[in-house]
């Protein structure tokens, strides 16, 4: 079984001290070690943002793709390489902002991907602008009078589009997050784990402490993670306003919804059952198709 250490490149992370990305990095390494995945068996695709700098710290095979565009290459890699598990790491600005089109359409497909969203509700790498998940009326450098949009509800969107595993994690609880990752990575079909990951430099509202006072674990309640409609209502409850108290503003973490046995996108694609490169081992005879034209 691989050791947690084997998944670190040895590069010193450039994240700010106290950044939520450390917890997410640690939890993923632990989950991979716990699952015993060999490095040959999976690939990771990152978007661009603070989360994406993790591409230099996690020692795995993968792609550090474009901003907002981690999902399309990951989808195609999984479609053409049935021998690989594919994990996507994306940010909230990255995946829910610029990449929202890809996000919604990926949800519709139920590809066999694990999608981890680093949700710090702010643009960190570009120095503090509002992100699609920044709370309503939050003042940021790009919204000095407050954000006028409602925040994106990724869990609600995922439920609407038929995602088969949906969880929310908290970077401040590494053991809990590790277990969510293990479940997500073991899920066949699209698994979305949206992780609240406080930004110490730019988000002075949704801090580690703010979350610590509000999160609770769904598994500690009688939560039924097979009830899609209830999960949707729960996703609405996590939209908190800036003034809410720890008592009134509760943030559920854990598995919101899970459904097994749903065919994946790859299941429906005959050509996806073998590595795509095998088709190019020699020229293919197309004389039959040529003759059938016209």
């Amino acid at each position: 079984m691989p050791d947690v250490k084997e998944f670190a490149t040895g590069a010193k992370p450039t994240w700010c001290p106290g950044c939520g990305n450390y917890g997410m990095w640690e939890a993923l390494k632990r989950a991979l070690a716990q699952l015993g995945w060999d490095k040959r068996e999976f690939a990771v695709v990152w978007g661009i943002g603070c989360h994406g700098n993790g591409a230099d710290f996690l020692d795995v095979q993968g792609m550090h793709a474009l901003h907002g565009r981690a999902l399309p290459p990951a989808t195609a890699l999984r479609l053409t390489r049935p021998d690989l598990h594919v994990i996507v790491e994306m940010g909230d600005g990255d995946g829910y902002g610029l990449g929202m089109g890809h996000f919604i359409h990926t949800l519709r497909r139920n590809p066999d991907l694990t999608v981890i969203a680093h949700n710090n509700q702010i643009y960190g790498l570009t120095a503090g602008q509002a992100s699609p998940t920044t709370d309503h009326l939050t003042r940021t450098v790009s919204t000095p009078t407050g954000v006028l949009e409602e925040p994106v509800n990724p869990i609600g969107l995922a439920l609407a589009e038929g995602t088969t595993f949906i969880a929310r994690g908290f970077a401040g609880d590494i053991p809990h997050l590790t277990q969510l990752y293990v479940q997500a990575l073991s899920h066949k079909g699209l698994a979305l784990v949206d992780v609240f990951q406080p930004c110490v430099s730019w988000n002075h509202h949704n801090t580690l402490q703010w979350f610590r006072e509000r999160v609770y674990k769904l598994e500690d309640t009688d939560w039924d993670s097979t009830n899609r409609v209830a999960a949707f209502e729960l996703s609405l409850s996590t939209f908190h306003d800036l003034t809410c108290s720890p008592e009134t503003c509760r943030v559920p973490i854990g598995v919101y919804y899970s459904e097994s046995g749903v065919p994946t996108y790859e299941d429906g694609v005959a050509a996806s059952q073998q590595p795509g490169w095998k088709r190019a081992e020699e020229p293919q005879d197309v004389s039959g198709i040529a003759a059938s034209l016209g």
Binding site: D83, P275, R279, A280, I289
Partner: protein, 601 residues
């Protein structure tokens, strides 16, 4: 009246015109198939506005005993599915041309013939016949196709065979009604005995392939072992998506209609990372969206093939027409600098050859290869003897697909700029493919020396690209009265015009730039050096190819012919232009031409 330089051998030009939504293209293509099976060479040109129903559509089919290279302007037989078609296409009708029309649309006396009395009118009650045989109105086409064969004196059987094959999977009465409709149309037209000089007889059969440019391109990709194709529909590239989708299952190719062109190219990069030969295609507007991904492919050294089939822009432009105005766009697309190859197929055979070669180049160079086509090539069907499928080779360059490696570096520095590629999944091949500048392993870096060495490495591949990319192809005599330089589909009408000119003793040669990037400067300079007079033909307003000649050859081409009204260059236009440059006025019409030529400065 339309005239044409002689001789062009026995041939008949048929136009079918009518409202959009009448199945005009499908009917025309059936006719093309019948004549191709009857031993003829065919070339068709479809013109339709970007509407599903409503506007005027037309389909022009050239049928010849001899090898032909393009469409031509005249029409010898006009099949008018509405009265408007007659007035719209009257100027292109040749001496003694026949018009098949439905008297229910307009009585013969009411047709707008502008006083011409040489025309042969063939009234066929298309709608009445449809109802007479118990059919539905959409079958007017079928009656009309029967009438076309009757008028040409060509046997009906080929059409009946085609109809039976087409409706084989439908209830028996569908084929029966269609056969009856075609037969009745044939009989009525034959009985009218309209004396038009244009007749066709069955020739000895010969092997043929009837394909449009997109089909030729798709076949080339399949032959090359493509495993992933992604696209968002955009005219004129859409039919390549439907072609690939149709063959996805039996050819074991993953074909994805994506949410947008951005996803298409990023998916292609992801599939290429896994080692799969991957391609996307679009037109200018979709390519604009792909530009970001193209740069990612460049910096990540991904072996991807991108089809760019151009149409008139900017923005939505003229969706269903043709233009060659994205040459510079293709060359310069994406921020930063990296090596790329741009191949410009000039005809259907090229489209097949260059597509499979594009995959080899992409693998050898590990950089994007663009196939630059246009609507004229994408949409129009031509008969070929066959595609050169025996020539297809698969060269994946330095690629390890299985096994084990040690100390692997994805972006190792090499003299050629190409680093050996080991697929993810191979033991020891842990690697990062990166859109950031990166070191040899793939990890992001801002170290100035590493940045310089990696950037230089990517640009170094240009030298290998010059070596590997297909050279220009020269047509015509070595010494000529006029030397023509061009790229892409303009090759087709130019070859046709050269045939006419050659028959008159006018010598013209032509250099077709097969690879437009890296720009083949030495060959172009040598060609121009040898020329008496030179002419650059390109379908844009600003002389994009001409500018490259100036930049890379330090030469001033003598003459230029541009076209930007959305219509393809016709051989008539090129023929007349050559004569004008040589000091002779020729009165040939290319209806709708807004071509501009300017003399040497």
């Amino acid at each position: 009246m339309s005239t044409q330089p002689a001789p062009y051998g026995p041939e008949v030009r048929i136009r079918i015109g009518g409202p959009a939504g009448f199945g005009i293209k499908a009917a025309g293509q059936m006719l093309a198939r019948v004549f191709a099976r009857g031993g003829y060479h065919t070339f068709d040109l479809t013109e339709y506005p970007s509407l599903i129903k409503g506007g005027h559509n037309s389909y022009h089919l050239r049928v010849s005993e001899q090898e032909i290279f393009s469409h031509v302007m005249p029409t010898d037989l006009l099949l008018a599915l509405d009265a408007q078609t007659v007035s719209l296409h009257l100027p292109e009708l040749t001496q003694g041309a026949a018009i098949i029309f439905d008297p229910a649309d307009a009585a013969a006396a009411d047709l707008d013939l502008a006083g011409r009395d040489d025309l042969c009118l063939v009234p066929v009650p298309l709608t009445d016949i449809v109802y007479e045989v118990g059919g539905v109105k959409i079958m007017r086409n079928v009656v009309a196709l029967g009438a076309v064969l009757g008028q040409l004196g060509f046997p009906l059987q080929g059409l009946l065979d085609s109809l039976e094959a087409q409706f084989a999977h439908k209830p028996a009465e569908v084929a029966e009604h269609n056969v009856a409709a075609a037969t009745r149309g044939f009989e009525v037209a034959t009985a009218l005995q309209c004396t038009s000089p244009h007749r066709l007889q069955v020739l000895p059969p010969r092997p043929f392939v009837l394909a449009d440019g997109n089909e030729a391109c798709g076949l080339g990709a399949l032959a090359a072992g493509i495993g992933f194709y992604a696209a968002y529909p955009m005219t004129p590239a859409s039919s390549l998506l439907t072609f690939m989708a149709k063959h996805a299952e039996d050819q074991a190719v993953v074909v994805k209609h994506t949410e947008d062109e951005i996803a298409a190219i990023n998916m292609v990069i992801g599939a290429a990372f896994g080692g799969t030969r991957s391609m996307c295609a679009t037109s200018g507007g979709g390519f604009a969206l792909m530009v970001e991904g193209l740069g990612f492919a460049g910096v990540s050294e991904s072996a991807v093939v991108v089809g760019l089939f151009t149409r008139p822009g900017p923005a939505t432009g003229l969706p269903t027409y043709t233009e060659q105005s994205d040459l510079r766009f293709a060359i310069h697309a994406a921020q930063g600098e990296f090596s790329r190859v741009i191949l410009a197929p000039g005809d259907h055979a090229d489209a097949f050859d260059l597509t499979w070669q594009a995959f080899n180049l992409a693998d050898r160079l590990q950089t994007p290869v663009i196939i630059l086509g246009d609507t004229y090539l994408s949409d129009n069907r031509q008969t070929l003897d066959q595609f050169a499928s025996d020539d297809v080779t698969v060269d994946r360059g330095e690629l390890v697909t299985e096994g084990k490696v040690e100390d692997y570096e994805r972006y190792a520095l090499t003299d050629s700029g190409v680093s050996p590629r080991v697929l993810p999944g191979v033991e020891g091949a842990v690697q990062l493919v990166n859109s950031y500048e990166h070191d040899a392993h793939g990890w992001a870096t801002e170290d100035p020396a590493t940045r310089d060495s990696q950037n230089s490495k990517r640009l170094a591949k240009h030298k290998l690209a010059v070596e590997l990319a297909p050279p220009p192809v020269e047509f015509g005599p070595r010494e000529a009265d006029l030397s023509i330089l061009l790229f892409g589909s303009t090759k087709m009408p130019t070859r046709e015009a050269m045939k006419w000119l050659s028959a008159e003793g006018v010598t013209v040669n032509m250099l077709q730039l097969v690879t437009v990037w890296p720009f083949p400067a030495a060959s172009v300079a040598e060609f121009l050096e040898r020329s008496t007079r030179s002419l650059v033909i390109e379908g844009n307003a600003t002389g994009q190819l001409e500018g490259l000649v100036r930049e890379f050859c330090l030469r001033e081409p003598g003459h230029r012919l541009h076209r930007t009204d959305g219509r393809p260059f016709s051989p008539e236009l090129i023929y007349a232009t050559v004569h004008r440059i040589l000091g002779q006025h020729v009165d040939l019409t290319d209806a709708g031409a807004v071509a501009t030529t300017r003399g040497a400065r």
